[in-house]
Amino acid sequence: MQLSKTFYALAAVAALASPALAADNMQGITATTIKIGNLGPFSGDAAVFNPLNFGPEAYLRYINDKGGIHGRKFETVFADSACNEAKGIAAAKKLIYEDKVFMIMGNPCSGVAMAIKPMLEQEGIPWMGPAANPKLTRPTSPAMFHTTYTGIESGEAMAGFALSNPAIKKIAIVEHSNDWAHGYCNPASDFIKKNGGEVLTRIAMERGSTDGTTQALQVKTLGAQAVLGCLYQPELIILLRDLQKFGVAATVVGALGADFDQTVQQVNSPAAVRDKFFQPYQFKAKIGTPALKEFEDMFVKYLKKDELPKAGPPTNFYYFGVPVGIVTVEGFRRAGPSPSREKWIAAIESIKDFDTGVLADTVTFSKDKHVGVSRMYAVGLDKDGKQTVYTAWGKPLPE
């Protein structure tokens, strides 16, 4: 009897204490607002990726302009991770414990996303972001969702596109020595081996490289028919330039760490990229075509001058980020007028074949599947230099 009293007393204390430990499941929701944390690299050497934060933000502002969701408008709190794990943890803590956001959105840096994952899981804070690390949502984490492609989908799409050319069997991989690059190239390597191809070599090209001579000569010496480049934009540009310099005719398929248009423009040599350089393509149509025009208009209308490119139209990364905002909002729409974390998560898990209007695939989640998309196309310049979206080698997507 005495033991039973002690047990109930401890249970009562635990019950009272637990809400203080975990975030309130209505945290960030008021009668008129939904507070969202937008975590991203707004400074530092990875700030080039912050359009992935501004894409979804544009959509939230668009929804606010339309009156919000169930009478509530979105209120965004930006936090800078600088793509650095320590800074990212501090920024996420501020969002969760000081700003008391409902969820964290954005977060393109995989290292930061992995670093804050335990905190998010402990507090039950939902996460929806474009960080490519598959381990964020595989195995499923209760409140974390990928509505964009992880390294597995992108890596397999890279390898799949290369192998869809019947003449390509021997493939070299050039990659950074980091988690991000391995996140793409490990699945790509597995895919090649499973599908009758041969990985001739996996060679390193590190951040800050000023020259790709060694890598280009290795690719040439080994006789690779294709190169998968799991590289960020500056190094991908150098590799493409040096492959051209040494007359290497191999097809190059780059990962999503580079913006296709900028890469083509900055290589500044049509012969190095025409019918030669490709990337997995996440979108249902070519950027700049009528099918995606509404998104360009949205970015231009709702983003501030310093949130848009200094010159030219919004780039690929804005479009890649926007589904994060679209699906986040869809979750609130489905969660009804009294949203809670549980309702929002259930709403997201109920999404089936949802067309974001921008991605190449429709979005489907379930309780056991928190990566919503898989099908990707490829983008490249054809022989005439015209940007073309391909469903497979030599098969352009009808415009």
Binding site: S43, G44, D45, A47, V48, N50, P51, S177, I203, A204, M205, E206, R207, G208, S209, T210, D211, T213, T214, Q215, L217, Q218, T221, Q233, P234, I237, I238, K245, F246, G247, Q262, Q265, Q266, N268, S269, P309, K310
Partner: protein, 291 residues
Amino acid sequence: MLAVLPQLIVSGIATGMLYALIALSVTVGYRATTVVNFGHGDLVMAGAYATFVFVGSGLPFAPALILALASLFLFGVLTQRVFMQPIINGPHLSLAMMALAIGYAVRGGARLEWGSEVVILGRPYDQGAFMVGSVVLTMDDLVISGFVVALLLTLAIVFHITPIGRLIQAVFQSQRGAALVGLNVHAFHGMMWGAGAALGAAGGVLLGLLVPLSPDLGVYTLIRGFAAMTLGGFGSPFGAVVGGIVLGMMEKLLGFYVSTVFIDITAYLVTILVLLIRPSGLFGQRATVRI
């Protein structure tokens, strides 16, 4: 595998020339002030961006380059006079930290403006490629190597033949002695810090011809410059150039014949080995200085 050896050596020399220029620019400042500028990489980056800005404002490349080098010279002089001179008699560690802090501040400024985008400086010439036997040479290789050789010859004349060279040598050997014979050591320090910044900026511009610009442009190259200085011998302009070229070739050869991982770590390995086996480097003089 041996068929590519000549190409690796030639490409290594071309890359090494760039390291040599960075090493040379640090050496100029070091010889005058005996302070190693740990923020020098950010001046390299600033030179590239300054040229980018001037070209963007409509200037042709050559005037833009000259204006950028002049701006960085002025910046170097000012930073030495305003930030370094007041603490010049303090511990060398303080000077090193100050130089590092200035570099970080410059990088932060660049990130504010260009942190979200990758930009290209653009070449003022056509990027042609030539075959010399089995070796591919590009205009980049020729421009960079030609520029560095011309600079080296100029500096050799300045250091060894002109009165300025003798002054530099005097200050390097004994600042107090130089002051006693009437040399304005403070002004001299400023001028040489400025010259080092301008040379580093030239290295940044050449680097910007090869790679997209980013605020971290100089960071990766500076470590190569330090390794080249260490290999060639601290304070030796000739050693800096030889060290840069040897380092460039080693990166290419180890990277191809052993593992591409070596491209990134050769500079560190060279620094460790030289400091252990021959701390004065290939051409440096044995000296004891405070750092």
